[in-house]
């Protein structure tokens, strides 16, 4: 089988789409009211050192995925054990995004359609994408990202007439704790979710590229997300905090003249595509991990099974949208902390030690 390779640019595109994924529709910042964007900025800044750690891990073990790295560092049994934890994280994340999508469509447009059908559909497309391989996903992302960005920018400009600058004021009206809370939640969702890409970026060509990709990818995505958050605050005002899907409602307010109104479909398009890519990446990493843990030759053989499991899991992961929203903003940051921060730091330190040993050995030899 041909070794799959993605270029830096494609990797950045995947990362951007992944990061804006479900955030685009759920919004960031939790309870920070009209200071949500400040939370976003702080979250992004918080995420940067961790991105550097992820990139560093990937650079030390160039061409190897996280599961290989774990097995090298922790031995066959310990490594597999931690690898299973990461497989779980990717699997769970994918299921959550599937559920987000299902809830969104179900609540917003199609209340009578069973959510399971919607989730199976997006799951099936994700399965197909993963079966075609990361290279195809990369190229598709490179094709789709400009479309998405253009749509977002156009909508941003169309929204200007509906924006009221005083909705941003007063700055820091919410308490510092709630801003920091929001920052923490936006760090965990979505910025540090890029830890999943440790299972993808082994396909990068050069040693330097992980830094470039991680930095540009998350930074540009962060800018987009913050821009969208500010837009939502400006258009929605205080009502924004009580909406599940602020972007959708904000865009539905836009109406230019008689004809150019009701352009929520743009949000649907961007969200549909971004969620799909996010799910595909999670499924890819899950499949890759399962293949590594079980010593399979090709991850493609488990994609369909895992994909369907993921959809099924999404079905019973939350009871309703209220728990989903609570989970995403309140519990998830703490739940994700070990995967996003604690374990990577641990792996990084191990990797540095191991690396020194290897180089020392080489020098002796």
């Amino acid at each position: 089988m041909r070794k799959e390779v993605i270029t830096d640019k494609e990797a950045i595109c995947i990362l951007i789409i992944f990061t804006i994924g479900s955030t685009l529709i759920l919004g960031i910042g939790g309870d920070a009211k009209n200071d949500r964007w400040i939370s976003g900025v702080i979250g992004l800044v918080l995420a940067i050192p961790f991105l550097l750690i992820y990139a560093r891990i990937q650079t030390i073990f160039q061409g190897r995925d996280i599961f290989d790295i774990l097995i090298i560092l922790l031995g066959k049994i310990g490594g597999r054990f931690v690898a299973v934890i990461y497989v779980w994280y990717a699997f769970h994340l994918g299921a959550m995004v599937i559920r987000n999508f299902g809830e969104f469509v179900n609540v917003v447009v199609m209340p009578e359609t069973p959510m399971f059908v919607l989730m199976v559909t997006i799951g099936a497309v994700a399965i197909m994408a993963v079966k075609l391989g990361i290279e195809v996903i990369g190229r598709t992302c490179a094709y789709l990202l400009p479309i998405l960005v253009v749509i977002i920018i156009i909508v941003q400009f169309l929204g200007i007439s509906e924006m009221k600058a005083n909705h941003l004021k007063p700055f820091f009206s919410s308490t510092i704790t709630s801003i920091l809370d929001g920052a923490f939640s936006s760090f965990a969702f979505p910025f540090a979710e890029s830890v999943v890409f440790l299972g993808v970026f082994f396909t990068l060509k050069t040693k330097k590229s992980p830094y470039r990709v991680y930095f540009y990818g998350v930074f540009l995505a962060g800018l987009l997300i913050i821009a969208i958050t500010i837009r939502n605050i400006l258009i929605l005002g205080p009502l924004g905090t009580s909406l599940y899907f602020p972007s959708h409602v904000a865009v539905s307010r836009i109406s230019i003249g008689e004809f150019l109104q009701r352009i929520e479909v743009s949000v649907a398009f961007v969200f549909g595509v971004a969620a799909l890519i996010k799910i595909s990446i999670c499924l890819f990493v899950t499949a890759k991990g399962v293949a590594k843990v079980c010593n399979l030759n090709d991850y493609r053989s488990v994609v369909i099974q895992l994909g369907l499991l993921m959809v099924y899991f999404a079905q019973f992961i939350y009871k309703d949208i209220m728990t989903m929203s609570d989970w995403a903003f309140k519990i998830y940051p703490f739940y994700a902390l070990p995967f996003q921060a604690i374990l990577p730091v641990f792996i990084w330190i191990m990797a540095e030690i191991k690396k020194n040993k290897i180089t020392a050995k080489k020098q002796i030899a």
Binding site: V108, T113, P114, V117, N166, K169, L239, R253, S255
Partner: protein
């Protein structure tokens, strides 16, 4: 062989998925009862009576539309909307609703239920215009006669949209009202609608005046001219006319003058003085002299200065008068003075926010006006009347 099986399987799945399931949300357009406008009244048997204006479409290549009224009662708004099925047979389709009219009676008890439903439901749109009926019931408005369009709700939407060039009623959408209910230092207001007599004795819906709320409860309705003053104080004037009469050369003859407002900017600045708050309201309006009903020269330098001074005083007086009236009669801060303090002087706001309602009643408001006459339209001089 395997391929054949796969294809067969795919076809079976496809056919199944279409035959057994395909109409969850699939709706044909002609099966929709398109709601153009809705009116909420007190019900006879249940709590609410919802009257909707439905667009009835006649078959044909040209879209000929007719207005059709339909009412249903229920204990909540959504209950009414669903009960309407038993009248129409079709489910009401709310996405194209343009206006929500609430009767005075209901509004005085509180409108939160309607506001909530329009913001919460995914089919209704939150940018529906909100209006309060000054007639006995809200339903009456829809019973009036249309003038140009066949659908009254569409007509009223046009009226509200074109208020920008009239400034006699505020244009409030449901989401905006919801925001105003929640925000600190401001109370919402809505347009008032009434029936107006036309030639031939028929009545037609008309928009004019402001319904003043306190929280979600209606507390009063003010007239059209006062609405303009409120809009001046809110910095919401986008157009409209300023009409005044001044004394001319002949002592007994008054000269009517209309200015067309092109741009108006109101600066609202609070001034803090120990524990006392004062409001400075600076109105700067750019107008053109659109009508000059007399021979006196207000266009030359001297006359112009005189006119400007005069107009500024007139405007100042009327805005001040209206603010005073609102303060004394209703005591609700529809101008958003408190909101200005909240936004720009957050710390001071923390101190005064608890008794802002009381403060507002006695708030000292200084109105300053500035009128800039941009041009005098096509004529450079007043018309002359030859003296014999």
């Amino acid at each position: 062989m395997r391929n054949v099986k796969l294809i067969l399987l795919a076809i079976i799945i496809l056919i199944n998925s279409f035959v057994t399931t395909a109409c969850w949300n699939y709706r044909e357009v002609e099966n929709l009862a398109i709601v153009a406008g809705a009116a909420v009244d007190k019900g006879e048997k249940a709590r609410y009576k919802l009257t909707v204006e439905i667009v009835k479409i006649a078959a044909g290549n040209d879209a000929i539309t007719e207005s059709k009224l339909m009412s249903a009662e229920g204990d909540t708004i959504f209950d009414c909307a669903r009960n309407a099925i038993s009248v129409s047979g079709k489910r009401l389709y709310w996405s194209h609703n343009k206006i929500l009219i609430i009767s005075k009676e209901i509004a005085e008890k509180g409108v939160i239920e309607m506001i909530d439903w329009f913001n919460r439901d995914s089919e209704t749109r939150a940018n529906v215009h909100l209006a309060i009926s000054t007639e006995n019931t809200a339903e009456d408005i829809f019973k009036g006669k249309e003038v140009i369009q066949s659908i009254k709700a569409f007509e009223m939407e046009e009226m509200l949209k074109n208020e920008d060039a009239l400034s006699k009623a505020p244009r409030t959408e449901v989401w905006e009202f919801a925001n105003n209910m929640a925000e600190e230092g401001i109370y919402g207001c809505a347009a008032a609608v009434k029936l107006q007599k036309m030639d031939g004795g028929e009545k037609t819906p008309a928009v004019g005046g402001t319904a003043i709320f306190r929280g979600d409860k209606l507390i009063g309705i003010v007239g059209e001219e006062e609405t303009k003053d409120i809009l001046f104080a809110q910095d919401n004037i986008k157009g409209g006319l300023l009409v005044e009469t001044v004394k001319g050369k002949d002592k007994d003859r008054e000269i009517p003058i209309s200015f067309e407002i092109f741009k108006s900017k109101t600066k609202i600045e609070p001034v803090f003085n120990k524990n006392q708050v004062k409001m400075n309201v600076d109105i700067e309006t750019t107008v053109t002299l659109a009508e000059l009903g007399g021979c006196k020269d207000f266009i030359g330098k001297k006359g112009r200065e005189e006119l400007v001074k005069l107009s500024e005083t007139i405007l100042k007086e009327r805005v001040e008068k209206t603010i005073k009236k609102i303060q004394q009669e209703y005591g609700t801060d529809v101008f958003g003075f408190g909101k200005r303090i909240y936004e720009n002087h957050y710390k001071e706001w923390q101190k005064i926010k608890d008794n802002w309602d009381e403060n507002f009643k006695n708030l000292q408001v200084n109105v300053k006006t500035k009128i800039i006459i941009k041009n005098s339209a096509m004529l450079s001089k007043p018309l002359e009347v030859r003296k014999n």
